[in-house]
Assembly symmetry: C2
Homo-oligomer: 329 residues x 2
């Protein structure tokens, strides 16, 4: 791995660092010897959870603040070598119910972070956590980066703007920046309390609790990235100069239907049950059908590919939540 030594002693700011992917990234960077500044707002509805960095307290500096607070962000970006920009409102339904809050976090805060970098730390390198949600309902599969963007919810529109601010600041001001369009990411430390981050979190919680979970429809095809693989993509993107100004899809090592995934969850849990039902009306209208990514671009440019298969990823995930369930309820 080209990043094994690249982060040693380097100063790294992670926004959303107490959340799912952010905390896994913080752990990995601490292992690699980076000085991690972990910024998170700990808003209860979002993904932040102090337990996510349990055991790491002496190696990661935690700073509770909100990316909407332009003043604190202006200070915090200074002196950092890398900014992994993961803070975001991720719930599609919340974005429809409170579009303004979604805009503040996913648009305005992103622009103010980039302005802070431009003014106070133009040598920083940013990696932005974007999302497949930007594509909307695919015209073709697998979806590559040439696919049109047709977001189907407010969250997708605002993330689209947030992503493009990063590309623009790279192209116009030379603030090195790139974006990863994440597909369904799963693994230890994801939010399982509700479906705000991913439906799979709710499945995992219920199956671990010995309760039936719900599968909506079940025929939809999806790809899933295990969080360790997603973390590797962030690190590769950070250290490469070939990523500057670029957008990359992440993807999964296989494509499964939701029903196949549900069966695998039950199998890996050593038991469990689920119910199949049709879409609730409020989800149906923003449903995107099948989705899976072509991740050839990140493979050829950065050498990334998913390494953890779904069985192994689910095994690790279930093991984590069997042990730590109470910390995530």
């Amino acid at each position: 791995m080209q990043f094994e030594t690249a982060f040693t002693g380097r100063r790294v700011l992670i926004t959303g660092a107490l959340g799912f992917i952010g905390s896994n990234l913080a752990r990995r960077l601490a292992e690699l010897g980076a000085q991690v500044l972990a910024v998170d707002s700990l808003i209860p509805e979002y993904g932040g959870n102090l337990f996510n960095i349990a055991g790491l307290e002496d190696r990661v500096q935690v700073n509770i603040s909100d990316v909407r607070d332009a003043h604190s962000m202006r200070y915090l970006v200074q002196g950092q070598d890398y900014l992994f920009n993961l803070a975001g409102q991720t719930s599609h339904m919340d974005s429809m119910n409170d579009p303004d809050a979604d805009l503040e976090i996913n648009c305005r805060a992103q622009l103010s972070i980039l302005e802070a970098c431009r003014k106070y730390n133009p040598a920083i390198k940013l990696v932005f956590a974007s999302t497949r949600q930007l594509y909307g309902k695919p015209d073709y599969l697998p979806v590559d980066e040439k696919h049109l963007l047709r977001p189907v919810d407010v969250n997708g529109i605002n993330k689209m703007a947030g992503e493009w601010y990063h590309i623009l600041y790279n192209n116009v001001y030379g603030i090195r920046s790139c974006a990863l369009r994440l597909t369904n990411t799963y693994g230890p430390r994801m939010r399982i309390k509700d479906a705000r981050q991913t439906f799979l979190g709710v499945w995992i919680r219920l199956v671990v609790e010995g309760k039936p979970f719900e599968v909506w429809e079940g025929h939809q095809l999806r790809d899933f990235t295990f969080v360790d693989d997603a973390v590797e993509a962030f690190l590769l993107a950070a250290v490469s100069e070939d990523s500057n100004g670029e957008i990359f899809n992440l993807g999964g090592e296989s494509v499964v239907s939701l029903k196949e995934l549900a069966d695998l969850v039950v199998e890996m849990n050593g038991g469990g049950e689920y119910l199949t039902r049709s879409y609730p009306a409020d989800r149906k209208r923003i449903d995107i059908g099948d989705y899976y990514a072509d991740f050839g671009r990140v493979h050829s440019t950065l050498g990334w590919q998913p390494r953890t298969n779904l069985r192994e990823g689910l095994r690790q995930t279930l093991e984590f939540y069997r042990e730590h369930l109470a910390k995530y309820l």
Copy 2:
């Protein structure tokens, strides 16, 4: 024209109604017997100018307010049959110098207008003024609506979000809405004080004043829509149900280089001169090269096509500013 009687007695709200296209639209709608509510903030740096509706004062109701003022907009959308949503920050350079103001106007205000429609007037029909700026530097010419969006300035990113909020509210909530991606629009009542709206405004002012104007490079190809044609597109889009949820490029009846355009301006003015210079550095980095639109989609769906050629359009424009120059300085 299918709209000749469609607007008689109908209530029409125009945002940015004292600006260039908005005021031409207000004039046409007043002729067609609509009850026009003309909303504009009259911010000096933008396009609003009370003289733009001179002579129309008794047929158009003017309401000075800012689209960022969610409270006034919430009231003003009520009871309207149509909303022509043209208020916007249009200056590319201003959007780079004050990205937050651009975001407030082109993103947040659009979202709050749509929320107001959803809550207080879901039967309204909206037509949104979008822009070719969303495409960035074209991959191919002419540019159709399948071209990727790759905005090259903050304005383009925010307009992209603003456009998609409209499409989303159509698709998810059934608030009938569509967007026109305007190319260079020109004609009487455009801003000529500076290049905030269009470079051609500055050319027209200088040539009418008998001063030399500046052509940057000169080889770039562009298309131009005369404002009366743009107005027709807004009206056609408003009355058609086939436009709902759709995005249409407008275009010009011909494609010219900026040097050819400059020569034509001088010819139609009966004299004048211009200097050719290279791009200023701050413009060069957001330059998009050649652009012209494929407007086949709006032609086949709504029957629109540009009717006024560049000679005739420039003739009318020059005549207007020779008569009214003082009102636009």
